[in-house]
Symmetry: D2
Subunit: 312 residues, 4 copies
Amino acid sequence: MNFRTDLALERRDLYKKANDIANEVDGLETQEEKIGEDIQITRVKVLNENGEQAIGKKKGNYITIDVKNLKIAGEEEIQRASEAVTKELKTLLAQLIGEKDDILVVGLGNLYVTPDALGPKVIQDIDITRHIINYMPEVLDQDTRPVSAVSPGVLGTTGIETLEILKGIVDNIHPKLLIVIDALASRSIERISSTVQIADTGIVPGAGVGNQRKELTIDTLGVPVIAIGVPTVVEAATIAADSLDLFIQKLQQDAHSNDFLNQLQEEDKYQMIKEVLVPEEYNFIVTPKEIDDLIENMSSVVARGINYATQK
Amino acid sequence: MNFRTDLALERRDLYKKANDIANEVDGLETQEEKIGEDIQITRVKVLNENGEQAIGKKKGNYITIDVKNLKIAGEEEIQRASEAVTKELKTLLAQLIGEKDDILVVGLGNLYVTPDALGPKVIQDIDITRHIINYMPEVLDQDTRPVSAVSPGVLGTTGIETLEILKGIVDNIHPKLLIVIDALASRSIERISSTVQIADTGIVPGAGVGNQRKELTIDTLGVPVIAIGVPTVVEAATIAADSLDLFIQKLQQDAHSNDFLNQLQEEDKYQMIKEVLVPEEYNFIVTPKEIDDLIENMSSVVARGINYATQK
Amino acid sequence: MNFRTDLALERRDLYKKANDIANEVDGLETQEEKIGEDIQITRVKVLNENGEQAIGKKKGNYITIDVKNLKIAGEEEIQRASEAVTKELKTLLAQLIGEKDDILVVGLGNLYVTPDALGPKVIQDIDITRHIINYMPEVLDQDTRPVSAVSPGVLGTTGIETLEILKGIVDNIHPKLLIVIDALASRSIERISSTVQIADTGIVPGAGVGNQRKELTIDTLGVPVIAIGVPTVVEAATIAADSLDLFIQKLQQDAHSNDFLNQLQEEDKYQMIKEVLVPEEYNFIVTPKEIDDLIENMSSVVARGINYATQK
Amino acid sequence: MNFRTDLALERRDLYKKANDIANEVDGLETQEEKIGEDIQITRVKVLNENGEQAIGKKKGNYITIDVKNLKIAGEEEIQRASEAVTKELKTLLAQLIGEKDDILVVGLGNLYVTPDALGPKVIQDIDITRHIINYMPEVLDQDTRPVSAVSPGVLGTTGIETLEILKGIVDNIHPKLLIVIDALASRSIERISSTVQIADTGIVPGAGVGNQRKELTIDTLGVPVIAIGVPTVVEAATIAADSLDLFIQKLQQDAHSNDFLNQLQEEDKYQMIKEVLVPEEYNFIVTPKEIDDLIENMSSVVARGINYATQK
């Protein structure tokens, strides 16, 4: 099954729809929580191989935080959203490492491509302590956790696989855990830069845009990897398929129903549309025109979320 | 007729299709020219009221320069495209003002919103001479034309209508002509930041994104206004409608033809899709994910085009 | 007397020293206030022609706010400093215009030259209300004051005198008062980006760097002009002269005293050093290497100070 | 001897002056070349331990390229200067590695601190080939050299020593040589961003600003390191000391000569002035106010210089 999304939550919903499952998928466990008006948290747990096969995601935790109207969010909404990130992140950290264990934060992406700049922008705002603990420990609380941070760049501008760069750094400075931030492709334009997914199973950079790189996981790096992913782009074919769904619904409501439409309604239009668009070089990857503000607000949410979670 | 495009060329094509016109529209005159492999020039002239009513554009010249693959253009392609802009601009200038007459170049848009930053970015690269002629004339050739340039900002960040700002400046410094650069909405995602339209009839800022401001024309400013427009964004509904067109064609070719599809084929899907998307808050305005590079290259094309055209 | 500073406070001190005045200069009135550890406010009032002639500043109020350690200031210090700006600005505004009278905020300077970018950066953060009052008054409190803002650019990049641009805008939109923000040259490197001067007498852009433009005052613009100036650069000759003063003091303490040094001590070394440096093309204008952070923090201080002062 | 400069050329001159050496220093060899009006090349070779002890620099080649008026340089001057860099770099590369050997280019510094942004800015413009050779070799000439590039950030923003990051990367991707770009402190404000030093002996980051980090050399990294250094900042004490030198000269010419001045003339004022300025917290590190343009032009010079040198 081609899910075209990195969000476990969206994959679960697609799997349920495709297989006509009313309740929970076997091998998954899902919890929902609402915080105030604007924040919705969904925690999907992949329990075993059944769950892994259903949604194509490794055993582990996938937490989605949806924030409404982030584009026009003020200081208060950003703070509330970052607190939600902190809370979820703290729970995962407590399960994986000790309170003073060394963390390396990694911002994937390209600072000069606006929809791909989230990772490097978050890194600018991370509170770094590792060098102070090494060189001037007296200015910090005794129980400060060492935190360091890098923006390794992207293959296209460095010529080096991200894994090669990170493997080298991890082998030299021996952090106990990595937090890796990346911009994702989403299946839904509404989620663009208004959703954060936190997963304790690592990340495959570029997967969402069909430009897959080597995975960054405990298997390749030797330490646990928490991935923080934020959708920032969407394919034209996705927009068209979603629009077509809404359009057919409307036609049917307006009594234009016919066998052909009914049959079309059942199918996944994405693949069909993609086959039409690709030869015309029309399957652009797009981002909302407000992407600068969205990235700005979302990097505040993620950076603060990490800063509060890594220190007490 | 709702054309959803500021490009006279696209309007003419839509009008011809809607009215089943094989040759030229009455009241228009069109010329095409190809320069090398990658550049296509189309000159649409609105001759009289017939033409004005057909495509909803004032009497005057509308020149479209399409540049293929601008996203990955190198120095040479950018130079060639800028030479095409220079040539067209020179012809218009020669018809409107004298060789040494004062020109004010205006970059509309918001520097901090990537797809809207074209105007201010072009202004950075304009060769300014007005102040040198005033204060140190001896360092310039005697026949240098006075050129000045401003980026007035946008209503949302200044609180002032662009017309109010420009009217004030024009009344104070008395240029003989304005060249106004603006980012447009396009009907076609392929044209995004790969097309320049030059018109000698002025501009209505924001028209393409349904956020219409007061017009900048000889009527409101008292001097001729040449508008240089570059499409940088497109509506989700446009993408969906275009994709649906391609999709239905494909279905019909695959012998899925039926009366309903045939009928659908005839209609303009844009309006129908927009009606579906708007209530769902799904009619996003989007831009390609490579918009940073596109804007960079296109502002080089436009700035050089203007610099060579305004000086000999 | 060549004061080489735009700060009325520094001019007063220089005048007192040069004329051996122990108490207050005739025609001036000075008040000092300390807020917490880090903020010092000095209010110099030029009362009459005597005062005008003494320090070469027009009759009016000149308020200097010195903020210690702004380079490494955190959120709290920035907030405290901005509150000091708000309080002084509110007092001046209440003397000049009514509570709902229209204000235009003007950010002088060049966004692309770091030490000259303060004005345009402040403008980005000003809360604009004028267009909302015009187009959607229902979303604002009834007693919201109309505020608009522009960054007119600098002569070198526009080719137009700032006064010509502002005169045009003022004549078209009729604000009741202007607040003009500019980066200044300082006499003292310690004051760089850690001092704000607020004056109710307008401004002469570029005066501090010997690149004087037409004045922006009630005389030229027809409405009162409050100037907010922040020192961001200093001449090499100033650094050398100040260092030489300290150096000679040290020599004298170390018993190297001799008639020549004693005599040198009395004189103003700046002019002598400048005469030496200029022919060598050595009189650079410099800025601290941390200027990016200094400008960042200072524009937060000024923008917030204005935002709280213009609205209730 | 405290040279306060990373430029071998300046150290040689200081050593000669301090030791009253008329010709060449024992253990050094120096060559000069002038290219056109604006470019001066000086090649200092440290031949043996005598030379090493004299100027405190390792055995090897130190090439200084001085470019006049880089601040206002046009396209032509930048091209000429970059060709000088290419020529010198090519000679060093040919002595150290084979024509197709893998090179890693490293841009030290902090992108967000203008005078420290040179390294990261150069990296943006380096032609990267390593990944293309790995993934799409068919699009390149067969004899293309693999080039990769990273901007590792600075200790203050990553929490990690640059050496730790680079050691990890070098051990993983095994380049045959590193080219490391860094901004330096200069002894002379005239050299700021108008001088390039190329050395085949590696680099000690931060040495010039008294903030010394672990050295990046063949000893620590296992492969040869070519350092490209560009002065971008200068201490206030340096400006003061140089100004004082000029000032005393002037006083002596004007017949103010006396024993004290004569004696002062002989001494190195820098150390004395520094002792005066430091306790007053007055020994700022400064940069010219035009630093943005200087960095822009110098990074074009260096990036082009490297691009032409690494490929045929």
